[in-house]
């Protein structure tokens, strides 16, 4: 074989043997593996078995693996199914060749679309197109000095249409009109005729002269005409210029003269003026053909409609050589003087449009005013110098020197008076003059004894004062000029800086330096708006800003009408009685204010005071000093108030404790949040509002600890620990747990029975399922028996069930001991527990009605027996700590709201924290609006109450169960507390309390 093979000559490429293919495959695989190992994921390349690249990048068709090497559609080669029914006729698809073409083929087809063949290409479109394509190809071949396609667009390859070619062949040449010969012959004929006519009247000399003139005119005309025609013909014969070339820098289709055609005319006359100065014909002809819309306006600068086109506007950079013009000019007499052009320019400069003439009198005159003279003592912010007339008197010449009166007393009096008047202004003088009309001592005021001296003294004083003021002002001015920060500017403008509370702003006002300076009254304006709202005269509680604020709030609400919310601000700290008293006071003050407004009587002493002050012009000084005092007081108060210490419970996460190498203070207590929170829980027992209600409970505690002395803190700690324990007992029992316990026998029935109960609670007893009845009856009997002091054997299978449940419940901290304990619980029940269950196991009828009542009442001010256990406890806590704060009412409200909610409280710290946060927020925002908040709470509650009613039966049963669980917990807790000995005592306490309560 080998020898044979050597003789053969092989053509073509041999078919690869399979082994080779497999090796390649192997290689590819190996390579891929290597890639996989070494390269990062985004660099790895996917290949198929053949080693070909499988996936293509996003820019080359995306993740086209599925389409690759196929028809290019998702379906691939699968035939389309054809369905057609009578109702739903299949559309007859018009098939065209494009249906069978690939994208690239289609693109090619476009190139071969119908066009004029070269032979009949009269206007040269196809030719130009072809030429362009050719040029493009060439362009591709040779590298251009100018990169990009730009030269292509600018330089259009020269093409000649077949028409031009024909014309050329017929002897036409560029720049000549086609009609040339025709018109020439016509004019020749005319000329002949004219000549003949002239020969007729040759003998008349005058006529000859006129005739000669005529001839001249004619010749001129005829000379003009062809040139004109020539240009027209020339342009129309060249395809490039058939369409109006776009020669401006406007956007495509933009016509700057759209709404002002006169300007277009003007423009036209200007642009074509240069070349058509001789042709006085209307420009429309040339225009329609040339369509020069733009002149040589500089690009990039729009011309307004009223703007005149000027020499300056002409584009300096425009190509100076306009070949179109040049043609014309060639043919026309180039010797034509440029005078006309020169003439035109000044005309355009006048800016007179055609159809307008320049007005002889222009009323547009620039009037220039000198800037206002800033007075010397101008200070760039508001000021009230107490003597308002200081400035005006400053430059007055003083009265002549006067001899002081002999009487020393009088001299002192006059001096004092002068000082006062100088300080307080003319008003004061008038006032005292009025007052002391009959007083001989003040005769100097009326031009009597010592008047001269008084006048002199007064002048001196004023002089002194103005000097002083000026100095101050200067200093101030300088200071201002030196640094005008945003804050100071804001202060000047009376802007209130964004600060957290009014208190802060008050201090900022207080910190304003130079409180004593009278003109620094701008401070008054930096006060919060609420203060500045009322004029100085109507502030009956000036001495107590907080009170004043409340008063203003009161006024505002009073005049605004509507529901009056409780006093905001500090009022929350006041007792009910104090608040009431204050309200009365406000009422009275408001009334008196009203009166004062209508009449002239001023009722409150403070008002009287302010009246007098305003009369004597002193108001500013006092108005200033008083706030200053107030501010000081406030500072003091603040110093007392701050820093405020509050303490809260906070639960560090176990891992944090671990990382800090500390023992978790909450170790052993149920872990937070994710524990057992079933959907049912949130649905039924954990409405969001409960969260906030809990907080209210915490609040009084916090309030107490605010004072923050050490032993107080300890007490708080103890209290809170108690609370913690209580909470532990209040841990919610997840419903599904109950389900797990009871599901075997009663669940379904319960579910079934519920709707019925909802529908008709009155008939509920009759309709109740037997299992439920049995359970309830058993419990009821039990509790009843206990109450009566009888021994009733426990319902054994039932308790078994419970124990089972208990063990699951206790999963987290199961210990044998506890197990035992719980077992014991099943059998031995304390009196309290029975009582508890007894309460909740009230006959069904009563229960339902109670529930109904409860939910109807909304927030449950009336406390029903079944919800007393935890409530009582909480109350106890609360009464112990919170009575003083006057929060009790509210607390009880909330506490009484729903027992189940209380029960569902958890010790979960994160939740606690959240609540606390909530409460704090609430306290900040609506702090004093106890009613308000509870109101809306009620609202929310109502909105839910319907739903609640529906659920009531289910709830009831679960309540019962839960109360049972309570027992267990109670029982259990000692066991747990044996580990945490410290809190055992407290726990006992709570237990005792519970007993006591029951």
């Amino acid at each position: 074989m080998d020898s044979d093979e050597e003789d053969f000559v092989f053509y073509g490429t041999p078919i690869e043997r399979e082994e080779e293919i497999t090796t390649r495959k192997k290689k590819a695989l190996a390579q891929a593996g290597g890639h996989l190992r070494t390269l990062p994921a985004w660099k790895q390349e996917v290949t198929d078995e053949e080693g070909r690249r499988r996936f293509h990048g996003a820019f080359t068709g995306g993740f086209s693996a599925g389409y690759y090497n196929t028809v290019g559609s998702k379906e691939g080669w699968t035939p389309q199914s054809f369905t057609s029914s009578r109702k739903n006729r299949a559309e007859v698809k018009e098939q065209s060749i494009f249906n069978f073409l690939d994208e690239d083929e289609k693109a090619e087809m476009e190139g071969r679309s119908l066009g004029t063949s070269m032979q009949f290409d009269t206007f040269g479109f196809t030719a130009s197109e072809l030429a362009r394509k050719q040029a493009e190809k060439e362009q591709e071949k040779r590298p251009s000095a100018i990169p990009g396609p730009v030269p292509d667009e600018i330089v259009v390859p020269a093409t000649e249409s077949i028409g031009v070619k024909l014309l050329m062949k017929m002897g036409w040449r560029r720049g000549r009109a086609i009609k040339d010969s025709n018109t020439n012959s016509l004019s020749d004929i005319r000329r002949e005729a004219r000549k003949a006519f002239l020969s007729f009247a040759a003998d008349d000399a005058e006529g000859q002269t006129t005739g000669a003139e005529m001839v001249e005119g004619e010749t001129e005309y005829s000379a003009n005409l062809p040139t004109n025609d020539d240009t027209d013909q020339f342009t129309s014969s060249t395809p490039v210029y058939v369409i109006n070339p776009k020669r401006d820098s406007y956007g495509l289709g933009f016509d700057p003269f759209k709404h002002a055609p006169e300007f277009r005319e003007k423009k036209r006359s200007r642009t074509s003026g240069a070349k058509e100065r001789k042709l006085q014909k209307p420009l429309s002809l040339g225009e329609s053909l040339f369509g020069f819309k733009s002149g040589r306006l500089a690009p990039g600068f729009g011309t307004g409609a009223l703007e005149d086109l000027d020499v300056e506007d002409e584009d300096v950079y425009a190509p100076g050589y306009d070949f179109e013009d040049s043609y014309v000019e060639e043919i026309e007499e180039p010797s034509k003087p440029m005078i006309e052009n020169v003439k035109k320019l000044p005309k355009t400069k006048d800016g007179v449009l055609t159809g307008f003439k320049a007005a002889s009198i222009s009323d547009y005159q620039l009037e220039r005013f000198d800037p206002p003279v800033i007075p010397k003592e101008f200070v760039p912010y508001h000021k009230f110098t107490a003597p308002l007339d200081v400035g005006s008197k400053f430059y007055e010449a003083g009265p002549p020197e006067a001899i002081p009166p002999d009487d020393n007393n009088l001299k002192i009096l006059i001096d004092g008076m002068a000082t006062l008047v100088a300080r307080c202004g003319k008003l004061f003088e008038d006032l005292s003059r009025e007052k002391n009309q009959s007083n001989p001592l003040f005769a100097f005021l009326f031009g009597g004894d010592g008047h001269d001296y008084y006048a002199r003294k007064l002048w001196e004083e004023r002089q002194k004062r103005t000097d002083q003021n000026k100095q101050h002002l200067d200093a101030k001015l300088f200071q201002n000029a030196e640094k005008m920060t945003a804050e100071s500017r804001g202060k000047i403008l009376g802007e209130k800086p964004l600060e957290r509370s009014i208190r802060d702003s008050a201090t900022s006002a207080g910190s304003a330096e130079a409180v004593n300076l009278q003109y620094n009254l701008s401070d008054t304006f930096t006060k919060p708006a609420s203060l500045s709202e009322l004029p100085e005269a109507v502030r009956p509680f000036q001495d107590d800003p907080a009170k004043q604020e409340r008063f203003e709030q009161f006024l505002k609400e009073k005049y605004r009408g509507g529901l009056r919310s409780k006093d905001a601000g500090g009022a929350s700290k006041m007792s009910e009685a104090a608040r009431a008293r204050e309200r009365l006071e406000f009422e009275a003050a408001a009334e008196s204010l009203e009166k004062g407004k209508s009449g002239k009587g001023s009722n409150t002493p403070s008002q009287l005071f302010t009246d007098i002050l305003s009369a004597s012009g002193l108001q500013f000084t006092t108005g200033l000093s008083e706030p200053a005092k107030v501010i000081q007081d406030e500072e003091l108060v603040k110093a007392k108030n701050y820093p405020k210490r509050e303490e809260f419970q906070w639960r560090p996460s176990p891992i944090l404790c671990k990382r800090f190498d500390l023992v978790d203070p909450y170790m052993g207590q149920p872990p937070p949040a994710p524990r057992h929170k079933s959907k049912m829980d949130t649905l039924i027992f954990m409405p969001d509002t409960v969260v906030s209600s809990k907080v209210e409970e915490n609040m009084p505690l916090d309030g107490n600890s605010q004072t923050g002395s050490k032993d107080k803190g300890k007490v708080d700690i103890v209290e809170e620990e108690i609370e913690v324990d209580v909470e532990v007992e209040k841990i919610e029992r997840p419903v599904d747990l109950y389900k797990a316990i009871f599901s075997d026998d009663s669940d379904d029935d319960e579910e079934n029975s519920n709707p019925k109960q909802v529908e008709d609670p009155e008939k509920k007893t009759a309709a109740a399922s037997t299992t439920l009845n049995r359970l309830i009856a058993g419990d009821f009997l039990e509790s009843l028996g206990k109450e009566l002091g009888l021994e009733v054997p426990p319902d054994l299978p039932y308790s078994d069930n419970k124990d089972k449940g208990k063990s699951t419940l206790k999963e987290t901290k199961t210990s044998g001991k506890e197990e035992k304990e719980t077992l014991r619980v099943g059998n031995v029940r304390s009196a309290t527990d029975y009582a508890v269950s007894g309460n909740s196991m009230a006959p069904e009828m009563a229960e339902t009605t109670q529930f109904r009542e409860h939910f109807m009442q909304g927030d449950g001010r009336v406390k029903e027996p079944p919800m007393e256990i935890t409530l009582a406890l909480n109350e106890k806590n609360a009464t112990g700590t919170s009575d003083r704060n006057g929060k009790k009412g509210k607390y009880e409200e909330v506490a009484g709201e729903d027992k189940k909610r209380h029960q569902s409280w958890s010790t979960d710290s994160s939740q606690d924290e959240k609540r606390r946060k909530h409460s704090r927020h609430r306290r900040r925002s609506t702090s004093s609006d106890d009613d308000d908040s509870s109101d809306d709470y009620r609202d929310r509650h109502h909105s839910r109450s319907k739903e609640k009613r529906k659920r009531s039966s289910r709830e009831k049963s679960s309540t019962r169960r839960r109360s049972k669980h309570h027992k267990h917990r109670d029982r259990e807790s000692p066991g747990r507390h044996s580990r945490h000995g410290s809190s055992r005592r407290e726990h006992r306490e709570t237990k005792d309390r519970r007993k006591y309560k029951d």
Binding site: R500, Y642, P643, K644, P652, R659, F660, S909
Partner: protein
Amino acid sequence: MSGGDLPTKEVNVLKGHEGAVLAARFNANGEYCLSCGKDRTIRLWNPHRGIHIKTYKSHGREVRDVHVTSDNSKLCSCGGDRQIFYWDVATGRVIRKFRGHDSEVNAVKFNDYSTVVVSAGYDQSLRAWDCRSHSTEPIQIIDTFLDSVMSVCLTKTEIIAGSVDGTVRTFDIRLGREISDDLGHPVNCISLSNDGNCVLASCLDSTLRLLDRTSGELLQEYKGHTCKSFKMDCCLTNSDAHVTGGSEDGFVYFWDLVDASVVSSFRAHTSVGFLPFLGPSPAPHKISQARKAKVPLLDWGLF
């Protein structure tokens, strides 16, 4: 009391940052110094010799605070990119990024064992991050603050943080209690005294307030500087004899701890803008030197 141990002259100017410096911190023994700033870098210096040792780049935005473990092996930093970076000092690599803050992170600190990073964020929360595990989830979120948390300090058992809501809150891990001291003014920096009994809070009313930690009493107020809109650092000197704080006009002030008089103040920076202030140098013998070094360090932190 005469201020003899207070810095008087500029030792070194550490130049290199390409933007404002937002914080500068000494390491545990005062040998090294870290600075971070708007140029998104953290720089490690030897302030005594004025040498730039290393630059840590990875932050996407400005770096607002940095802290180093007591063994100098790890860094943590935080900033405008809402993340806390946990760095290896030697290699300059980011070991972990803790994400979770909803907003910029203002301050960050290691605990004593360098096992936990506690960060204070503009999102009104404190978050504790575990450095031991590989989890990047916070192990604790404290969100009782009502406004941005500006500064955080850690003791062995407590987390102390100051917030713009005007409170300094102490979270006692051992007791499971939160103590909130409301100062009535936004707090932008807190610092513990070296004996751990007092906390110094820089408030935005241009006042430093010294609080007794056990009782919450206000012990002293230090005024004279300007601090109205920017975060200015403050601290006590190593001997707890003086209080020091930066001022927005570029001055550094020293007050006597007890009688609150300004003992010394000098212009540390040419700029009018605010400048951060360096933490204290923990090594007692180094204090003056460290102080001196600190001052010029901030000199290019212009705004």
